[in-house]
Protein backbone atom coordinates (compact mmCIF):
# COMPACT_ATOMS: atom_id res chain seq x y z
CA UNK A 1 0.00 0.00 0.00
CA UNK A 2 1.25 3.46 -0.81
CA UNK A 3 2.12 6.01 1.85
CA UNK A 4 -0.98 7.95 2.88
CA UNK A 5 0.96 11.17 3.57
CA UNK A 6 3.94 12.86 1.90
CA UNK A 7 5.79 15.85 3.34
CA UNK A 8 5.42 19.05 1.35
CA UNK A 9 2.86 17.70 -1.12
CA UNK A 10 -0.89 17.69 -0.92
CA UNK A 11 -2.30 14.32 -2.02
CA UNK A 12 -5.68 14.95 -3.62
CA UNK A 13 -8.09 12.04 -4.11
CA UNK A 14 -9.52 10.66 -7.36
CA UNK A 15 -8.92 11.97 -10.87
CA UNK A 16 -7.91 15.40 -9.53
CA UNK A 17 -5.19 13.61 -7.61
CA UNK A 18 -4.16 11.75 -10.76
CA UNK A 19 -3.80 15.06 -12.62
CA UNK A 20 -1.79 16.73 -9.86
CA UNK A 21 0.40 13.62 -9.27
CA UNK A 22 1.18 13.31 -12.97
CA UNK A 23 1.91 17.03 -13.37
CA UNK A 24 4.06 17.26 -10.24
CA UNK A 25 7.84 17.22 -9.77
CA UNK A 26 10.15 14.23 -9.37
CA UNK A 27 7.83 11.22 -9.09
CA UNK A 28 4.51 10.44 -10.68
CA UNK A 29 3.56 7.53 -8.41
CA UNK A 30 3.40 9.42 -5.12
CA UNK A 31 4.17 7.32 -2.06
CA UNK A 32 4.71 4.16 -4.09
CA UNK A 33 8.00 2.33 -3.49
CA UNK A 34 10.11 2.38 -6.67
CA UNK A 35 10.43 -1.42 -6.58
CA UNK A 36 6.68 -1.75 -6.49
CA UNK A 37 6.20 0.60 -9.44
CA UNK A 38 8.81 -1.39 -11.41
CA UNK A 39 7.13 -4.68 -10.53
CA UNK A 40 3.77 -3.31 -11.70
CA UNK A 41 5.27 -2.21 -15.00
CA UNK A 42 6.91 -5.62 -15.44
CA UNK A 43 3.59 -7.30 -14.72
CA UNK A 44 1.92 -5.05 -17.30
CA UNK A 45 4.40 -6.23 -19.95
CA UNK A 46 3.90 -9.82 -18.79
CA UNK A 47 0.16 -9.33 -19.20
CA UNK A 48 0.81 -8.54 -22.85
CA UNK A 49 2.92 -11.69 -23.27
CA UNK A 50 0.18 -13.93 -21.86
CA UNK A 51 -2.47 -12.03 -23.81
CA UNK A 52 -0.58 -12.73 -27.03
CA UNK A 53 -0.42 -16.43 -26.14
CA UNK A 54 -4.12 -16.64 -25.35
CA UNK A 55 -5.09 -14.60 -28.42
CA UNK A 56 -2.97 -16.82 -30.67
CA UNK A 57 -4.72 -19.80 -29.05
CA UNK A 58 -8.07 -18.18 -29.88
CA UNK A 59 -6.98 -17.70 -33.48
CA UNK A 60 -5.58 -21.22 -33.79
CA UNK A 61 -8.66 -22.85 -32.32
CA UNK A 62 -11.06 -20.67 -34.27
CA UNK A 63 -9.43 -21.11 -37.65
CA UNK A 64 -9.11 -24.91 -37.77
CA UNK A 65 -11.86 -26.87 -39.53
CA UNK A 66 -10.85 -30.00 -37.55
CA UNK A 67 -12.76 -30.54 -34.30
CA UNK A 68 -11.02 -29.28 -31.13
CA UNK A 69 -10.38 -31.92 -28.41
CA UNK A 70 -12.96 -31.77 -25.60
CA UNK A 71 -11.02 -30.47 -22.57
CA UNK A 72 -13.34 -32.01 -19.98
CA UNK A 73 -12.59 -35.45 -21.48
CA UNK A 74 -8.88 -34.89 -22.19
CA UNK A 75 -8.19 -33.58 -18.68
CA UNK A 76 -10.45 -36.06 -16.87
CA UNK A 77 -8.91 -38.08 -14.07
CA UNK A 78 -9.93 -41.45 -12.65
CA UNK A 79 -11.11 -41.24 -9.04
CA UNK A 80 -12.43 -44.45 -7.41
CA UNK A 81 -12.77 -45.99 -10.87
CA UNK A 82 -14.94 -43.16 -12.24
CA UNK A 83 -13.57 -40.56 -14.66
CA UNK A 84 -14.12 -37.10 -13.09
CA UNK A 85 -13.86 -34.22 -15.58
CA UNK A 86 -11.12 -31.66 -14.88
CA UNK A 87 -10.44 -33.12 -11.43
CA UNK A 88 -6.70 -32.38 -11.47
CA UNK A 89 -7.26 -28.88 -12.87
CA UNK A 90 -9.80 -28.14 -10.13
CA UNK A 91 -7.30 -29.27 -7.50
CA UNK A 92 -4.56 -27.14 -9.08
CA UNK A 93 -6.88 -24.10 -9.02
CA UNK A 94 -7.68 -24.82 -5.38
CA UNK A 95 -3.98 -25.07 -4.45
CA UNK A 96 -3.07 -21.87 -6.30
CA UNK A 97 -5.89 -19.83 -4.74
CA UNK A 98 -4.95 -21.18 -1.31
CA UNK A 99 -1.36 -20.05 -1.80
CA UNK A 100 -2.58 -16.67 -3.06
CA UNK A 101 -4.56 -16.18 0.14
CA UNK A 102 -1.64 -17.10 2.41
CA UNK A 103 0.53 -14.68 0.41
CA UNK A 104 -1.95 -11.80 0.89
CA UNK A 105 -2.03 -12.40 4.64
CA UNK A 106 1.79 -12.73 4.73
CA UNK A 107 2.02 -9.23 3.20
CA UNK A 108 -0.30 -7.90 5.89
CA UNK A 109 1.74 -9.46 8.71
CA UNK A 110 4.92 -8.19 7.08
CA UNK A 111 3.72 -4.61 7.26
CA UNK A 112 2.78 -5.20 10.89
CA UNK A 113 6.39 -6.35 11.50
CA UNK A 114 5.10 -9.74 12.65
CA UNK A 115 8.20 -11.61 11.49
CA UNK A 116 7.23 -15.17 12.49
CA UNK A 117 3.71 -15.14 11.03
CA UNK A 118 5.00 -13.53 7.83
CA UNK A 119 7.69 -16.21 7.50
CA UNK A 120 5.39 -19.17 8.12
CA UNK A 121 2.80 -17.88 5.68
CA UNK A 122 5.49 -17.31 3.05
CA UNK A 123 6.66 -20.89 3.59
CA UNK A 124 3.07 -22.14 3.18
CA UNK A 125 2.80 -20.13 -0.04
CA UNK A 126 6.05 -21.61 -1.36
CA UNK A 127 4.88 -25.14 -0.55
CA UNK A 128 1.56 -24.47 -2.28
CA UNK A 129 3.41 -23.29 -5.38
CA UNK A 130 5.64 -26.37 -5.27
CA UNK A 131 2.56 -28.61 -5.07
CA UNK A 132 1.10 -26.82 -8.08
CA UNK A 133 4.27 -27.35 -10.14
CA UNK A 134 4.31 -31.02 -9.10
CA UNK A 135 0.71 -31.51 -10.20
CA UNK A 136 1.47 -29.81 -13.49
CA UNK A 137 4.45 -32.12 -14.08
CA UNK A 138 2.10 -35.06 -13.46
CA UNK A 139 -0.46 -33.63 -15.90
CA UNK A 140 2.21 -33.13 -18.58
CA UNK A 141 3.65 -36.64 -18.24
CA UNK A 142 0.15 -38.17 -18.30
CA UNK A 143 -0.71 -36.36 -21.53
CA UNK A 144 2.67 -37.15 -23.09
CA UNK A 145 2.09 -40.85 -22.29
CA UNK A 146 -1.30 -40.59 -24.01
CA UNK A 147 0.46 -39.38 -27.14
CA UNK A 148 -0.06 -35.61 -26.99
CA UNK A 149 2.75 -33.82 -28.86
CA UNK A 150 3.15 -30.22 -30.01
CA UNK A 151 2.51 -31.38 -33.58
CA UNK A 152 -0.14 -34.11 -33.09
CA UNK A 153 -2.50 -35.71 -30.60
CA UNK A 154 -4.99 -38.57 -30.67
CA UNK A 155 -8.00 -36.41 -29.65
CA UNK A 156 -8.49 -33.91 -32.47
CA UNK A 157 -6.98 -30.75 -33.96
CA UNK A 158 -3.18 -30.93 -34.11
CA UNK A 159 -2.75 -27.37 -32.79
CA UNK A 160 -4.07 -28.42 -29.37
CA UNK A 161 -0.73 -29.78 -28.17
CA UNK A 162 1.39 -26.80 -29.15
CA UNK A 163 -0.95 -24.30 -27.46
CA UNK A 164 -1.29 -26.50 -24.38
CA UNK A 165 2.44 -26.96 -23.86
CA UNK A 166 3.30 -23.34 -24.64
CA UNK A 167 0.66 -21.66 -22.46
CA UNK A 168 0.75 -23.96 -19.43
CA UNK A 169 4.53 -24.30 -19.78
CA UNK A 170 5.08 -20.56 -19.68
CA UNK A 171 2.73 -20.27 -16.72
CA UNK A 172 4.45 -23.15 -14.93
CA UNK A 173 7.79 -21.45 -15.55
CA UNK A 174 6.46 -18.31 -13.84
CA UNK A 175 5.24 -20.40 -10.90
CA UNK A 176 8.65 -22.11 -10.60
CA UNK A 177 10.49 -18.78 -10.54
CA UNK A 178 7.98 -17.54 -7.95
CA UNK A 179 8.58 -20.61 -5.78
CA UNK A 180 12.36 -20.06 -5.85
CA UNK A 181 11.94 -16.42 -4.78
CA UNK A 182 9.36 -17.39 -2.13
CA UNK A 183 11.91 -19.74 -0.55
CA UNK A 184 14.61 -17.03 -0.70
CA UNK A 185 12.30 -14.51 0.98
CA UNK A 186 11.15 -17.05 3.56
CA UNK A 187 14.81 -17.35 4.53
CA UNK A 188 15.27 -13.56 4.52
CA UNK A 189 12.25 -13.01 6.77
CA UNK A 190 13.12 -15.79 9.23
CA UNK A 191 16.75 -14.60 9.35
CA UNK A 192 15.45 -11.14 10.25
CA UNK A 193 17.06 -9.28 7.36
CA UNK A 194 14.45 -6.53 7.50
CA UNK A 195 14.91 -5.99 11.22
CA UNK A 196 18.72 -5.85 10.86
CA UNK A 197 18.49 -3.51 7.87
CA UNK A 198 20.41 -5.74 5.43
CA UNK A 199 20.52 -4.45 1.90
CA UNK A 200 17.70 -5.37 -0.48
CA UNK A 201 17.69 -6.93 -3.96
CA UNK A 202 19.41 -5.07 -6.81
CA UNK A 203 20.07 -2.07 -4.57
CA UNK A 204 22.42 -0.75 -1.92
CA UNK A 205 19.44 0.61 -0.01
CA UNK A 206 18.17 -1.19 3.06
CA UNK A 207 15.59 -3.93 2.57
CA UNK A 208 12.12 -3.51 4.00
CA UNK A 209 8.89 -5.48 4.31
CA UNK A 210 7.67 -3.65 1.19
CA UNK A 211 9.70 -6.32 -0.66
CA UNK A 212 7.20 -8.90 0.58
CA UNK A 213 4.40 -6.88 -1.00
CA UNK A 214 6.36 -6.71 -4.28
CA UNK A 215 6.87 -10.49 -4.21
CA UNK A 216 3.17 -10.79 -3.40
CA UNK A 217 2.25 -8.76 -6.49
CA UNK A 218 4.17 -11.24 -8.65
CA UNK A 219 2.57 -14.23 -6.94
CA UNK A 220 -0.97 -12.84 -7.25
CA UNK A 221 -0.27 -12.15 -10.92
CA UNK A 222 0.61 -15.81 -11.43
CA UNK A 223 -2.74 -16.70 -9.85
CA UNK A 224 -4.45 -14.07 -12.02
CA UNK A 225 -3.02 -15.59 -15.21
CA UNK A 226 -4.22 -19.01 -14.07
CA UNK A 227 -7.77 -17.62 -13.74
CA UNK A 228 -7.67 -16.75 -17.45
CA UNK A 229 -5.99 -20.00 -18.54
CA UNK A 230 -8.54 -21.99 -16.51
CA UNK A 231 -11.42 -20.15 -18.16
CA UNK A 232 -10.19 -20.11 -21.74
CA UNK A 233 -8.18 -23.30 -22.09
CA UNK A 234 -9.86 -25.75 -19.71
CA UNK A 235 -13.49 -24.61 -19.53
CA UNK A 236 -14.15 -23.06 -22.95
Amino acid sequence: MSEPKIDGFELKPGFKGMASDTASDQTMFKGVHWGKAMMWIFLLSDTFVFSCFLISYMKGRGSTPVEWPNPSEVFALEAFGVPVPLLLIALMTFVLITSSGTMAIAVKYGYEKNRKMCGWLLLATALGGLTFVGMQAYEWSKLIHEGVRPWENPFGAAQFGSFFFMITGFHGFHVSIGVIFLFIYTYKVFAGHYEKGKRGWFTKLKGDYVEIEILGLYWHFVDLVWVFIFAFFYLW
Partner: protein
Protein backbone atom coordinates in the same frame (compact mmCIF):
# COMPACT_ATOMS: atom_id res chain seq x y z
CA UNK B 1 13.57 7.07 27.12
CA UNK B 2 12.27 9.63 24.69
CA UNK B 3 13.65 7.64 21.76
CA UNK B 4 11.87 4.40 22.69
CA UNK B 5 8.63 6.31 23.05
CA UNK B 6 9.05 7.66 19.56
CA UNK B 7 9.70 4.20 18.11
CA UNK B 8 6.58 2.83 19.79
CA UNK B 9 4.55 5.69 18.37
CA UNK B 10 5.73 5.14 14.80
CA UNK B 11 5.15 1.39 15.11
CA UNK B 12 1.57 1.95 16.16
CA UNK B 13 1.01 4.33 13.29
CA UNK B 14 2.26 1.77 10.77
CA UNK B 15 0.02 -0.93 12.20
CA UNK B 16 -2.97 1.30 11.76
CA UNK B 17 -2.29 1.69 8.04
CA UNK B 18 -2.64 -2.04 7.22
CA UNK B 19 -6.03 -3.58 6.55
CA UNK B 20 -7.94 -5.88 8.83
CA UNK B 21 -7.43 -9.60 8.22
CA UNK B 22 -11.18 -10.02 7.71
CA UNK B 23 -11.15 -8.42 4.27
CA UNK B 24 -8.50 -10.88 3.03
CA UNK B 25 -10.39 -13.86 4.45
CA UNK B 26 -13.60 -12.66 2.80
CA UNK B 27 -11.95 -12.26 -0.60
CA UNK B 28 -10.25 -15.64 -0.17
CA UNK B 29 -13.59 -17.34 0.55
CA UNK B 30 -15.22 -15.56 -2.38
CA UNK B 31 -12.45 -16.78 -4.70
CA UNK B 32 -13.03 -20.37 -3.58
CA UNK B 33 -16.78 -20.05 -4.07
CA UNK B 34 -16.40 -18.47 -7.52
CA UNK B 35 -13.90 -21.14 -8.61
CA UNK B 36 -16.33 -23.80 -7.42
CA UNK B 37 -19.11 -22.19 -9.47
CA UNK B 38 -16.97 -22.01 -12.61
CA UNK B 39 -16.09 -25.70 -12.12
CA UNK B 40 -19.81 -26.43 -11.80
CA UNK B 41 -20.32 -24.83 -15.24
CA UNK B 42 -18.25 -27.68 -16.66
CA UNK B 43 -19.70 -30.30 -14.30
CA UNK B 44 -23.28 -29.69 -15.45
CA UNK B 45 -22.09 -29.32 -19.07
CA UNK B 46 -23.88 -26.03 -19.76
CA UNK B 47 -23.57 -25.29 -23.48
CA UNK B 48 -23.74 -22.31 -25.81
CA UNK B 49 -24.16 -18.69 -24.71
CA UNK B 50 -25.01 -19.66 -21.13
CA UNK B 51 -21.70 -21.50 -20.74
CA UNK B 52 -19.59 -18.73 -22.25
CA UNK B 53 -21.26 -15.89 -20.39
CA UNK B 54 -21.00 -17.73 -17.06
CA UNK B 55 -17.32 -18.58 -17.67
CA UNK B 56 -16.52 -14.96 -18.54
CA UNK B 57 -18.58 -13.59 -15.63
CA UNK B 58 -16.81 -15.74 -13.01
CA UNK B 59 -13.42 -15.13 -14.65
CA UNK B 60 -13.70 -11.33 -14.60
CA UNK B 61 -15.12 -11.34 -11.08
CA UNK B 62 -12.20 -13.44 -9.81
CA UNK B 63 -9.63 -11.36 -11.68
CA UNK B 64 -11.18 -8.15 -10.36
CA UNK B 65 -11.18 -9.37 -6.76
CA UNK B 66 -7.55 -10.48 -6.96
CA UNK B 67 -6.39 -7.21 -8.52
CA UNK B 68 -8.49 -4.91 -6.34
CA UNK B 69 -7.86 -6.45 -2.92
CA UNK B 70 -4.97 -8.96 -3.02
CA UNK B 71 -2.89 -6.65 -5.23
CA UNK B 72 -4.20 -3.56 -3.37
CA UNK B 73 -5.23 -1.66 -6.51
CA UNK B 74 -8.46 -0.61 -4.73
CA UNK B 75 -6.36 1.43 -2.29
CA UNK B 76 -3.74 2.74 -4.74
CA UNK B 77 -3.74 6.24 -6.16
CA UNK B 78 -5.42 6.84 -9.52
CA UNK B 79 -2.10 7.82 -11.13
CA UNK B 80 -0.93 4.18 -10.79
CA UNK B 81 -4.28 2.48 -11.36
CA UNK B 82 -4.93 4.31 -14.63
CA UNK B 83 -1.45 3.71 -15.98
CA UNK B 84 -2.00 -0.03 -15.39
CA UNK B 85 -5.57 -0.45 -16.60
CA UNK B 86 -5.81 1.68 -19.75
CA UNK B 87 -3.27 -0.38 -21.76
CA UNK B 88 -5.72 -3.30 -21.41
CA UNK B 89 -7.91 -1.62 -24.05
CA UNK B 90 -5.14 -2.38 -26.56
CA UNK B 91 -5.58 -6.08 -25.74
CA UNK B 92 -9.33 -5.77 -26.34
CA UNK B 93 -8.62 -4.21 -29.76
CA UNK B 94 -6.21 -7.04 -30.57
CA UNK B 95 -8.83 -9.64 -29.63
CA UNK B 96 -11.35 -8.07 -32.05
CA UNK B 97 -8.76 -7.89 -34.84
CA UNK B 98 -7.77 -11.53 -34.43
CA UNK B 99 -11.39 -12.67 -34.13
CA UNK B 100 -12.05 -11.14 -37.55
CA UNK B 101 -8.84 -12.75 -38.81
CA UNK B 102 -9.65 -16.31 -37.68
CA UNK B 103 -13.08 -16.15 -39.23
CA UNK B 104 -11.47 -15.19 -42.54
CA UNK B 105 -8.86 -17.96 -42.21
CA UNK B 106 -11.53 -20.53 -41.43
CA UNK B 107 -13.58 -19.36 -44.41
CA UNK B 108 -10.53 -19.62 -46.70
CA UNK B 109 -9.68 -23.11 -45.49
CA UNK B 110 -13.23 -24.36 -45.93
CA UNK B 111 -13.59 -22.65 -49.30
CA UNK B 112 -10.32 -23.83 -50.90
CA UNK B 113 -9.59 -27.13 -49.11
CA UNK B 114 -13.06 -28.50 -48.46
CA UNK B 115 -15.29 -26.97 -51.13
CA UNK B 116 -12.47 -26.93 -53.69
CA UNK B 117 -12.27 -23.28 -54.70
CA UNK B 118 -14.51 -21.06 -56.78
CA UNK B 119 -13.81 -22.66 -60.18
Amino acid sequence: MENTNNIEKTDKKEEASTHKIGIYLWIWTLLFVLSFFSYMVDWYQFQGMLRWSLILFFMFLKAGLIMAFFMHLFWERYALVNVLLWPMTAIACFIFLMAAEFQYTLFSRLFYFVVGGGA
